[in-house]
Subunit: 462 residues, 2 copies
């Protein structure tokens, strides 16, 4: 048996303080989309790093600033942690059981907007490195932190920032923002992110809302968007934009193996797999998953399929009761999650061409953000090192995913730094990122801090 | 030349007071859909009638009360005026140039929610009858007023009210709620209303909003409604519900004649008609009317075609910027305007059957209101009497429409009282009913009061 590292005991003893520091981070709302509390949150992370002896500074960008931290280690081998201090808007507020920025603790969980995505991870990493600094003369490797403030609005300035600061950020290994425990208690490690194209579709009718009696003769922009959307995806969930699927790489044998490895033993029986999928779907209030998928097919679709998702649809009268109005505008927010090797700029062009060809010249496409999909090869030694660290902390084999359902601005790190990225963190399968009652479990938070220590020690051995 | 009636001079002299009374009515918001200010508005109309010597009382219903007024005349021949004191919600507030309940006057217009629909008409009628009572010993005919409080929410209790109070309401002629001047300065007279089916379509996905990364495997209720809607109407504006058009009566020869009579002389040239239509459409911020219609076809569609209109679509994130969410619910508000002889209950059944057949069992159809279409035969003497009164007041031939784009609860009056209805009023073509900056012109308001006097005198001659 491994000897227990002093860091692990230290983390156990100081856990209350670590939790309080996280709560303080959550209590500083930092909603980039709504320009709320951004400076204060950036300052909080800078101060937190400095309190742990990490050299930190705030670096301006054209948008919200980045927080940068660095501490030289015994070796020049360098690990860069990427996180973000901005959070999603908390709406719909009425669905939260406690104030989204109160960081309430109940039933062994901390609830709050950003507690999982991504302040919990940012804090755990600072605290893990901070713990090592307390107990050792020196870190075994050099560690850098980059905590940006625009991830939830599509990181519009990150690519320029990474390019312009390539020397500062240069590293051998990168750790991406987050990770989740699965329902079997196995920690997740992720080797990539999906890409994304986030757009608004906007349609205009008359110059003002009209009495709906005029619907015989006045065009209705809500109908235009309905028809435009119906031309984009059919009810069999097929995306109808010509060429949309053309560049997709099928999963490799190794990737499929990783998916199988992630499955619960029981899922190897088809009948059981179907039953488990239905049960999981029911816990989300559904009869079954989309297209009634289960088992390996469900996981394949989850990781290797792109999406065309409606994030929001707003037109006309949204209040209670009856209002007979013909709306003058309609707005849809959509995200397309993309998989290797789809190119968000190419998909945007295909979307525009498609809408024109279908006669929707009047639908304005407003680009909100674009991200490339990125994948770290599963064969790299850093992947094994991360798996070993996770096994040592969690005592269960980690689930390694070739990519994940979510997206993120990983591409500039690949493009400008050629940085291989792994991702792990403090969330779990029910953390409700981007949704009401976002939460993490205290037990996962503690393990997440320990994981940082083990990871750094494993990297040192590479 | 006609001798000027003393009532006309009286109306000119007292017009400032009449306007002030209307402003006071508008300044009492009475939004049935939001349960705001209803009792106060009902009381205001009761008091106004009493101030003019009309016997008035408030009669409770299962919903908002009705205001009833009556004044016996020389003859038992009876005219019933139908109006309503409730108004549409004022939203979107940011598009109003002045507070919707301030009843501001500028450029010869009064602006305010309900000033056209329907408080202006209710006031003008009370003031017209009030004027006659001031200057004559007795009205030539008996006059009754019914001002209900639920028209904008589909008059859910009016049918029962008319049935239960048939003796009280009994009359020989009915005057419906409103009328509008056309751009040529000709007053409108309307002989009917469209029917309506107002529904909400509601779809549910997961029990909570999810991160949009899950869109690979979690159904999205916004997509379900998009597909359901696309199955209801196609982009050629054809309504696809089987049997939807089956019961429609084509316009009669006489009705088509009325449409032609309503047209501006210039519109008889096809080229000119197209030009006029485009110009009118452009004044509404459009390139052209729906399906690029103009002239007679435009008018035919406007009056004799049913509609399937999206009044509102609400799902997911409606705020600024980017939120990558998979919504848990989606809600659409729709109205179907119906023409003779479509039956709203039959259309509802056909809609339900259609959605089931198309696989949208999961879309919940919530009925908000139903109205039958109604038409008064153009041959009745009351129609000619109304035309003569209008010609005398407006000095231009009125435009008689066999029906109108809007709907209303006219059916109970036909069913329980067999009452022939005509409609005229104080609005104009740009009154923006149900929309921001609803307004009437002061000049039309004055004529509208005079029209009441002339109409009563013409009815007395029948």
């Amino acid at each position: 048996m491994d000897k227990v590292k002093p860091e692990m005991t230290y983390i156990d003893k100081n856990f209350h303080r670590f939790v309080t520091e996280l709560q303080e981070a959550v209590r500083r709302p930092s909603i980039a989309a709504q320009n709320i509390g951004m400076e204060e949150a950036a300052l909080y992370f800078k101060n937190l790093m400095e309190a742990y002896g990490i050299n930190a500074k705030i670096i301006p960008t054209k948008g919200y600033p980045c927080v940068y931290g660095e501490i030289k280690g015994k070796s020049d081998k360098t690990v860069l942690f990427y996180n973000h201090y901005d959070v999603q808007p908390p709406e719909p507020l009425e669905e939260w059981e406690s104030d989204p920025f109160s960081a309430s603790i109940r039933d062994g969980k901390i609830y709050g907007r950003g507690v999982s995505d991504n302040k919990g991870n940012a804090c755990a990493r600072i605290q893990g490195i901070g713990t090592m600094l307390k107990l050792r003369e020196e870190l075994p490797v050099t560690v850098k932190f980059l905590i940006e403030g625009e991830e939830e609005i599509g990181s519009p300035n990150l690519s320029d920032f990474v390019r312009e600061n390539a020397d500062l950020l240069r590293a051998d290994y990168g750790v991406w923002e987050s990770g989740y425990m699965n329902p079997d208690g196995r920690p997740g490690i992720y080797l990539g992110v999906k890409g994304m194209l986030y757009v608004e579709l906007f349609a205009k009718g008359a110059s003002k809302d009209m009495h709906s009696g005029s619907a015989t003769t006045i065009p209705n922009p809500a109908w235009h968007l309905v028809w435009a959307l119906a031309s984009i995806k059919n009810k069999e969930e097929q995306i109808l934009i010509p060429g949309f699927y053309d560049d997709i790489l099928p999963p490799t044998e190794k990737e499929l193996e990783m998916l199988k490895d992630a499955m619960h033993e029981e899922e190897l029986s088809e009948e059981k797999a179907r039953e488990i999928a239905r049960k999981n779907a029911q816990s989300l209030g559904l009869n079954n998953y989309l297209l009634d998928l289960y088992g390996l097919e469900l996981r394949k679709r989850s990781l290797f399929s792109p999406t065309a998702n409606i994030c929001g649809f707003k037109s006309g009268y949204l209040g209670e009761g009856q209002k007979t109005v013909l709306p003058s505008t309609a707005l849809v927010k959509m995200d397309f999650r993309l998989v290797p090797n789809q190119d968000p700029y190419d998909i945007l062009e295909k979307l525009n061409t498609h809408l024109k060809q279908e006669g929707f010249d009047d639908v304005e496409v407003r680009v909100i953000s674009l991200d490339y999909p990125v994948k770290t090869p599963a064969e790299l030694p850093i992947v094994d090192a991360t798996k070993e660290a996770a096994l040592s902390v969690y005592k269960k084999p980690p689930v390694v995913s070739p990519t994940q359902g979510g997206s993120g601005p990983m591409y500039p790190f690949k493009k400008y730094l050629d940085l291989p990225m792994v991702s792990f963190g403090v969330g779990y399968w029910n953390s409700s990122n981007h949704a009401p009652n976002e939460n993490i479990r205290l037990v996962d938070y503690k393990s997440g801090i320990k994981m940082v220590v083990e990871f750094i020690d494993k990297v040192a051995e590479l």
